[in-house]
Structures are given as structure tokens and as C-alpha cells.
Symmetry: C2
Subunit: 390 residues, 2 copies
């Protein structure tokens, strides 16, 4: 049993939306395929993944630095003890040979994306959906049948009106969602507050609305927003400032009485450990949002859970970033709080495919083996191109 | 005045040496050339740089992500106020458009390498060696004529004997060096101590010998080495453990009575700020080793100096990593403590070229305009290939 090929392709996301700091017009991602020699129904089993959003493609590093390590390794080094399946943890160990300590962000995306593709492959070999495999390995076999989801929406767009925003949010509610998130920081504070009041009238109340500043605030603006937002009792205030400015987070956590959120730009457990040690996050209240394919993969995500637990944060604090099938499996299999959903943004990379339905703020789960990208038709059209002829 | 082309090439380093964690057999680097439309002696002025060592090439990001931003920017955006030269700080601002906060390590190398190449270009346009330009911009015009240097040597090599090591170190002394650094952690503690005693007999005493563990130790081994090394009063103990484990550094700084060193794996001022805030480093004693092309460039290095000063560390604490002409200019122009030198390692990328001579532990400075790679013949053979036909 071995990996016989690794393929990748950089795909533009073609998005016009904007957060507090920049537009996404140049954003792209890497789709990867890890091809095995395991033949099922006459074809090799393949694991797929892509590197979430908000960063850029990691194709060159997959192609030149990390893929060749997997392809060049003695095949048995990449297998589990029994030799009956691949072991993503061993694959990561192999990819991190001859790599420095520190500087994690340099490589956490290509390694994480390949690791998640390996999990897709592992679950396909077991002929089970990934969340069941993860539940067995990391959660004493427990998994959720349906998982809470919330919409990552409310982006800034050219010419957007209050009516546009109302219609967008009503659409989410009509589609079965109960909680939404909106961007803040792309307009002056007073206009952002108007925007939030518009949204609150649609979604019903603060606990159903989170806001996301995408690290856009300096100290002064962060405190101004914290003060102005406090009366609304919002679900959370996400990334108000530089995600690595632990001291500023600590001060904000002392001043702002409602939940804060951070983590989607962390490279893994080491950075999370430092953040929770110094950043003043409050157990039972604040929210952690590490994104598996952007942060060394699912194995590292499990280590993030261990780190979080040491600082008093259980699975109820964990809302992985990345509204996609990969995160949905992680939330379901590890019993986490909720999964983000991208509805109508990020093109073919948004959404959960045709096996998943939404209702009462919950998502059903896919039943296909692996992650189930095969049942997300527009995305599958791209992923399957990777392996034509394989 | 504009940038008309950016060229890059990934070059293997062909090194057999080994530190505490891995060998360098697959190590490579990117050489970059930033071609301007400024014509001097009938040819366009070009800035050159490469991304130091110990990481890997950043070619794809130069080619696909950051180079195109510079080439696509309105030319005046990249110039200084007077419009008579390029402004590397504005170029960095341009390269960081549409980039996330956090995740610095992902991009600090390609941005830093391009930024240093721009400084080479800036100094060539001014027809002065780079250190004089840096002294004017950032150091009230003060610069050193000669700068202290120390040798980054003592690598582990296959079949190495004590006699080999003695001969290596004697060679450095004969070449005019007075202080050397050796690797530790690649052998069991007792053998490493024997190695250190061998070296001390050659170099004369603890203050002339630093040791570098390249982040190879866990907590237990870090404390074991700290305890065993303490009696020797070595110049410094470098990167004993994970560079981001601030808490472990803090504990080591309390236990180990001599200088510690860290910083070559930092991505810039943000990480340095956190490290100095939490890591227990002692002003007047410990050593900071940020490497400009690996950490957003020289402008960011100046910000690192500001951060350091806030925590009580002056230029005397600053020993930039990277034994090359780029670091030599930074040390001379900013008045820092000393520059590392690689003698006979890292192939054509080691050494300072034929304008620089070493004596009494000091290096003279190049007089060519810019960085002066043109006078480092073996390296220049590679760099000049980038711009054949330009």
C-alpha cells in the first residue's frame, strides 16, 4: 500500500467580497489529490483536499517540498501499525524532516492540506465517512448526527445597501440557518453599528449574531468597537486586532464583557498555547477558531484540543474556521461546538454539497466514504480534473 | 524610475553538514534580481539578494505572489518622496496588500529577500555602499569602518574526529577570527562536552566560544545542557529549544547564568515583541539574532531594534543571523554588535567576497556601490546569470 502520485492545482476563487482590510480579488487556493495504489471498483483510491480560504495557494510547496517527501519515503513509514491503512500522523512526521523548529506559518498550509487529503484517503479505505473515523480515533467513538452551523456572511460589497444586507440575512434564515456572522471594520464605526442594528432586526437578537473584524483594528479602534458593541450582547467579536498581539487581547478581554474569538490565523498548537497562556481568553466564554488544513491538519487540530483543555477550554469553545466539508467532518467527529458555512461566497469552494441539508440551525452529515467531495458537484468538477487518467 | 523585471532562481546549497536536528542535504535558497530602468554605464541597475540559509527557496512566492505586486504597482508608489530613488518600505507596503495579519512566517522570506534586493538597488542608485546609506537613514550617519565578526562553524560532519575539529578551529584563528560558534546537540551530552573542551583549548576560553543547539532540545535536555555548560562561561547558548516556547526560555533564563541567544527563526518585530515580553531575556546579557532577508527585510530589522530598545536591549545585543554581505552591511550601518561569518560552509553563499579582509576578529567593509555581490566572484557567477540579457 503506497502513495503513487500527488497532484495539485492552483485555482482562483473569483470573489468580489471585502473584509475590513482587503478585497479577495486575487485570492486563490490549492486543490490537492493524493493518489494511492489501493484499487476499489477498478480505480485507485484518491484523497482530496484544498487549503481553505483567506490565504493563497500553496502549490509550489506541495509540488517541490512536501509532496516529494511523501513520494520518496519508504512506503511502510507512512502506514499504521497494522499496515492496513495510511497514517496521516506519520506522513506529517515525514514531511517535517529537515524542517526548522518555529516558522510554522511557512509550511502549516501545504502540510495541513496534504494531511487532510490523506484523511480523505484513510476514510475511503475504511469505506466510512471521515467523521466516523475521527470519532473512533480521537473521540471514544462518539459523534454527532447533525451539527450546529452558522453562516459566515455579511461581507462588504461594492454598492451594498441596507436592503441588500437584510435580504442576504433573510435568505440565510429561509435556508434554515439560525446564527450568522457579519464583517465589521470596513466602514466607520457609526455606519457599522447601523449595519449591525439592521442585521439584529432580521436575526432577532445578539446571541444570533457574531461580528468579525479580520484583525483590522489598532488599539484605539479595537477599544472603540468593544465599547460600542458591548450593549448588543453579540455572540462573539472575532479577531478585533493583530492575532499575535497577546497583550492587546488580554486588555480587551478585561474590558469587553462578551465573548471574543481568535485562531483562524494560528499555525497550530504551539501558537495556540502561547495565545491561551498570555492572551487573557476566558474559559467558558471565548471562542477558538483554528482551521485544520491551514494549520498542519487534523492531527494538529487534535493537539490544539489538548492544549485548549489544559487552559480550561473544552470542545464547546471550538468553532473551526473554514465553511467547508472538511471542517464539517472535524466538528462532527470530534464533537465540537459548530461549523461555519459559506453560502454564496467563495464560488465552488463554498457550501457542503448535495448530501448535506440545513434546518433549524443544524446540518445533516454526508454518508459517502471519506470527506465526500464527490457529492459537491461544482467542486468535484475541479477536483476530479486533478486525477483524470490516474 | 521603475522596476521593469524581477527574476529569481532556486539554487541548491550542496551542503553535507548537520546540526542537532537535521542535515542540510536538501537545503536550497532563492537568488533574486530586481531590475530597474535606471541606466548606469549603459546598463540597467539591478538589485540582488538571496534568502540566507537554513530555510528553503521562496521562488514560487517571489514569482507568483510578491514580484507581480511590485511589477504591477503604479511606479510612483514605490519611490521616495523626492521621486529620486526607490523606497523599500513602500515596496513592502505594496507587497503586503491583500495579505492577512498574523501568519508572518508564510511570507516574511520572499518579502524580505525582495526588500534587501531593493536596498542593493537603492544604494547603487546613490553610488554608495549599502552600510553608508543605512547609516544615513537609520543611524544618524554613524557607521563602523570595521565590524566584529565571529565564525558560525563547528558543524557535525560524517566521520569527524577531534583532530578535524581542532584543525577547523585553528584555521579560523589563523584566518584572523577570534570568536567561533559550534553546534551542540548532535551527540550525547558527554561527547558534546568533550567537543567543547577540545574547542576551548584552541580558542582560549569561554568568552570566545558560543554554542548553538538549533532548537533541538526538549525541556529535560535543555536543562541538562544548561547545567553542564554553565561552568564554562561560554559567550552564549543559542536556540536551546523551540524558539516559540517563551515559557521554557523564561525558565532557562532564570536557571542559566550566562547569555542565551534566540531570534534567527523569528518572522519579524511582532514575534520579537512577544518573545521579549514573555521569554525572560535579560537586558545587558542575552543576544538577539533576527536575520533581515528571512524576516521582512532591513526596514523590519529597524523595527526590531525599536522593539528591542523598548525592552532594554540596545544594538550591543544584536547579532544578526546569516554570515553574508547583507548582514555585514546591516551590522556596519546600524552599529550592531557583530556579524556572523560562514567560512567554507554553504558553498558559494558563504564568505564576504574579495573586498573584505579579516584580522583581529574584525572585518573590513566593501567599498562597491550597493551590497557588493559583484566582488564575490563565485556567488556573482550565479547572480549575474539571473540578469543575462537584461
Amino acid at each position: 500500500m503506497r502513495i503513487v502520485d500527488i497532484r495539485e492545482h492552483a485555482v482562483p476563487i473569483h470573489s468580489k467580497q471585502r473584509n475590513s482590510r482587503f478585497d479577495f480579488s486575487l485570492m486563490d487556493t490549492s486543490v490537492v489529490a493524493v493518489v494511492s495504489d489501493v484499487i476499489r471498483d477498478g480505480r485507485p483510491l484518491v484523497g482530496y483536499a484544498f487549503n481553505s480560504f483567506g490565504r493563497y495557494n500553496c502549490s509550489a510547496m506541495v509540488r517541490e517540498r512536501f509532496g516529494p517527501k511523501l513520494l520518496g519515503a519508504p512506503p511502510e513509514l507512512l502506514l499504521d501499525e497494522a499496515g492496513t491503512n495510511f497514517d496521516p500522523a506519520r506522513a506529517v512526521e515525514c514531511m517535517l524532516q529537515r524542517e526548522r523548529n518555529g516558522a510554522h506559518a511557512e509550511r502549516c498550509i501545504p502540510v495541513g492540506t496534504l494531511e487532510v487529503a490523506l484523511w480523505d484517503l484513510v476514510a475511503k479505505i475504511e469505506q466510512r465517512p471521515l467523521y466516523r473515523v475521527l470519532a473512533d480515533r480521537f473521540n471514544d467513538g462518539r459523534f454527532s448526527d447533525r451539527v450546529p452551523v452558522y453562516v459566515g456572511g455579511g461581507w462588504y460589497a461594492p454598492g451594498q445597501t441596507a436592503e441588500d444586507l437584510r435580504r442576504e440575512m433573510q435568505g440565510y434564515l429561509d435556508a434554515g440557518y439560525r446564527m450568522v456572522k457579519t464583517k465589521i471594520g470596513g466602514l466607520p464605526l457609526a455606519q457599522d453599528i447601523e449595519r449591525i442594528e439592521t442585521l439584529l432586526r432580521v436575526v432577532g437578537g445578539g446571541p444570533s449574531l457574531a461580528v468579525d473584524a479580520n484583525c483590522g483594528f489598532d488599539r484605539e479602534r479595537a477599544f472603540a468597537y468593544a465599547k460600542a458593541l458591548a450593549p448588543y450582547g453579540l455572540r462573539w467579536l472575532e479577531e478585533p486586532c493583530d492575532p499575535m498581539d497577546y497583550e492587546l487581547y488580554r486588555e480587551l478581554a478585561q474590558a469587553y464583557p462578551h465573548p471574543l474569538a481568535n485562531g483562524e490565523n494560528f499555525s497550530g498548537a504551539r501558537e495556540l498555547d502561547n495565545f491561551l497562556r498570555y492572551g487573557g481568553f476566558r474559559p467558558g466564554q471565548d471562542v477558538i477558531q483554528v482551521d485544520p488544513p491551514l494549520a498542519y491538519g487534523i492531527g494538529e487540530y487534535v493537539r490544539c484540543l489538548e492544549v485548549s483543555r489544559r487552559f480550561g477550554f473544552g470542545p464547546e469553545a471550538m468553532y473551526p474556521h473554514g465553511g467547508n466539508l472538511m471542517s464539517l467532518h472535524v466538528v462532527a467527529g470530534l464533537g465540537l461546538a459548530a461549523c461555519e458555512a459559506y453560502t454564496g461566497v467563495f464560488g465552488v469552494f463554498g457550501g457542503f454539497g448535495d448530501e448535506v441539508s440545513i434546518g433549524e440551525g443544524m446540518a445533516t452529515l454526508p454518508q459517502s466514504p471519506g470527506i465526500g467531495f464527490e457529492r459537491q458537484p461544482a467542486l468535484w468538477a475541479i477536483l476530479s480534473q486533478l486525477t483524470e487518467g490516474a
